[in-house]
Each structure stands twice: as C-alpha cells, then as structure tokens.
Amino acid sequence: MASSTGTPATRRLGVVVIAMLATLAMCGLWFSSEDVVQGSTVRIMYVHVPSIWTAYIAFGVTALCSAVYLTGKNRSLAWDRVAGASGEIGVLFVAVSLVTGSMWGRLTWGTYWVWDARLTSTAFLFITYIGYLAVRRLGGTHRQRARRSSVLALLAVLEIPLVHFSVVVWRSLHQEATVANPNAKVELDGLMLFSLFLGLFAFTLLFVWLVLHRQRTLMLEDAFADRGLDAAIVARHKEAEASS
C-alpha cells in the first residue's frame, strides 16, 4: 500500500507542469502584446479558455469512467475514483472559468454577467456537478457510492445538452448582448496564439497531474475506511472473547 500519492513519474510530470505554467504566466503577462480592441484584458483569456477546456475534458473523463464502471465486468472501484477525482477538478476549473469570465465581461462588456446561452449553460454545468460531488458524499458503502454517482454522471450527460438546447432557444427569443458582440472575429498575432495553445496544453497536463494525485488520495481514503471497519470488528471480537 502506497503511503504517499507521488511516484517518480508524477514528480517529473509535476515539474514539467509547473515550468509550463511559469512560462505561460510570463508569455501571458509580459511577452505577448496587448490586444488592439481589448487592451490588457485579453490576458485573462490565457487562463479563462484553458480552464473551461480542462473542465470539459474533466467532465468527459468522469462520464467515460462512470460508463466503464457500470458496464465493466469486474466493476473496479478504480474507475469510480478516477471519475470522482476528475469531477472534483472539473468543478474547480468551471469555477475558475466563471470567475475569470465575469472579470473579463466586466472589463469588456461593462457587466459581470449576461444571460447568454453559453454562460447560462456553464452555470448549470457548475451546479450539476456540485450536485454530483454531494451525491458522492452521501455515505454508505464504496459500491453504493460508485453505483449512485456513476448513474448520476451519465444522467448529467443527458441533461447538459438538453439544458443547453433549451437555453439557446430561450435566448433566441430575447435580445442579444448589446454591450459588445462576443462573437466578433478576433485576429490573434503569433505570440498570443502561442500563449493560448501553451495554456491549453499546460492546463491539460495540470489536470492529469491533479487527477493522478487525487484518485490516489481517494484510494487511501477508501482503504482507511475499510481498515477502520476491520479494526473495529476485530476489537469487538476481542471484547466478546474477553467477556465470555
């Protein structure tokens, strides 16, 4: 049984991720030029776009692992733990993208929030996966947790497109965002494009790194809970023997 969640491979990965994030910070904050229209606010994009990208990957991984758990023959709890770890990190990154997005919106559109279809669906995505994490903490055995949360993760895959579709239709009957057109074509120069792609790559690796550690922590938590139960049973047996 591992006593820490790190291995030589994850440590190397961690060093690479930190180096890439540092490079991203330098490219995003200093080396890349200001946008003609948006000025320095464009720098928020180097965090905002990669974080929502990572969140989509994370929820995709959650759904995939949940499906594998439910359909797999041996029903390995490892799939459930990866799904859970990925869900947690996805929620974190959606939160980051909502916060950075509303900061950018305030600077560019003059308002923190517009009832745009994409924004509204993202908010629903956030709430849905907070619910998913709450269900994981309902208690019961590991198998109960795995089964409940896997079904819920697959239901979310059904729900999110439906919510998105209905919100798109809902918005189409209302006025568009008038402060600024978010769909305006933006020309990106070389370094800006590089920073954006570096961000996507760095955040994806960051996600892998975090999931590896988090699922190992979850494994240790499960093992701790099991051992706690075993130890309690042994103790009760000894008590019974001593009293008889």
């Binding site: 849905t128 309902l138 208690g139 409940r148 079904v151 439906l162 209905s166």
Partner: protein
C-alpha cells in the same frame, strides 16, 4: 400473464397504493396545496406593480409548481424509505422499472391537481384571462410538462431516498435538471395566457420540447431507477 401485462399491473398497483396513502393522509390537500397557495400570494407581495403580475404569471405558476413538487417528492419517498418499504418491494422481486412507472404515475396525478389549482389561482389573483383555445393549450402544456416532471422527480427522488440530508440534496439535484421544463412550460403557458401579446399558436413548439423531455426521462428513468435504488 405476459411480461408486459404483469409490469403494467404492478405499475398500476404501485400507483394505486401511493394515491390511496395520499387519499388517507391528505398531505397534498392539507399541507402542499396551502403551501403552493401561499407562494402565489407571496409572489404578489414581492412583485405588486402595474400589470407586472399578469405578465409574469406563467413563470410564477411553474415556479410555484416546482417548489411544491420538491415537497411532494420528499413525501412520496419518505413513505417508501420508512420501514424499508422500498427494500421490501425489491426483495419481493418486483421489477424496479415498474415501481418507477407506478410512482411516476401517482406523482403526475398529484402534480396535475396542484397545477390546476395554481392556474386557477393565477386567474383569480393575478387577473389572467384565457380564450377557449388558450385553455386547451394550457391543459396540454400541463399534461405534457407534468409527465416530464413526474419522471425526473421520481428518478432523483429515488436517488436521494434513504440518504442522510436528502431534504437539502433533492433541490440541488433536481432544479437544474428541470430547467428545460421551466423554460418550455413557461413559454407555452405565456402563449396560452396571451401574456405580453403572445399568440396562442406560438406555444406549440414549446410543448414539443416538453414532450421530448418527458419521453427521454421516461425511458431513461425506467432503466436507471433500478441501479439507483438498489442498495
């Protein structure tokens, strides 16, 4: 008896059981309906303004329905998880899909009664006026939306049943999922009420959205309910 007929018989038996429990305890009439009514009155306090209530009445009717629905679902699963009734049904070898259909039917009947009351209150309290065609559309909207709500409500109610802290968990899980119903039903009812000059014919596409929702969650619920309640 063929498998399909047996399932239908079980579903009807479960629905009848739920409705007779409700009939004997009268929780819907004595507690939930007054709760829904007070929500409608409170909306009027919060939004009292020239003609605004008339304009937003459809949204308020459906919001009040969804809040009351949470209470009804808690109740229908409190009945099951007390004394391990749901486990007993499972141990008896009853197909969980049939339990799902039966409980959804009973929930749909209760929700429909509640919605009829709320629409009547909107007419009386908010001064909503409807044409005959509008009334037909409102009824179709209520039927289709109720089926969707009942299926989703039963599915997520079953998930939260028997868990600690289910009272707080159910709204968190359920409200995001029923958002499409709130949008679709509100727009369809707006057309039926003629709020803000909407024509009755504008409501039918939204009823289509509600129908898709109902069919989708009815089908998924029948399959997914078993794994969810299997403890």
């Amino acid at each position: 008896m063929s498998a399909v007929r047996r399932r239908r018989a079980i579903a009807l038996a479960v629905a009848r059981k739920d409705l007779s429990i409700e009939w004997n305890s009268r929780v819907l009439v004595n507690q939930v309906a007054p709760f829904a009514s007070i929500i409608m009155v409170m909306f009027a306090f919060a939004l009292d303004n020239d003609g605004i209530l008339q304009r937003v009445a459809p949204g308020l009717v459906w919001l009040a329905t969804m809040f009351s629905m949470l209470v009804v679902i808690q109740r229908t699963f409190a009945v099951e998880s007390a004394d391990g009734a749901l486990d007993a049904l499972r141990v008896a070898g009853i197909d969980p899909g049939s339990i799902f259909v039966g409980k959804s039917m009973a929930l749909a009947v209760q929700l429909f009664a509640l919605e009829a009351l709320l629409v009547a209150m909107a007419v009386v309290l908010y001064g909503v006026e409807m044409s005959v065609l509008g009334l037909c559309e409102a009824i179709v909207t209520m039927v289709v939306a109720t089926i969707g709500l009942a299926c989703v409500g039963t599915l997520y109610g079953g998930l939260a049943a028997g868990a600690r802290g289910r009272e707080t968990l159910l709204p968190l899980l359920l409200l995001p999922v029923v958002a499409p119903v709130l949008i679709g039903a509100t727009r369809a009812t707006e057309a039926a009420f003629g709020s803000a000059g909407t024509a009755v014919s504008e409501g039918w596409p939204w009823i289509g959205l509600l129908a898709v929702f109902a069919v989708l969650f009815g089908a998924v619920g029948t399959v997914a309910f078993g794994p969810l309640i299997d403890e």
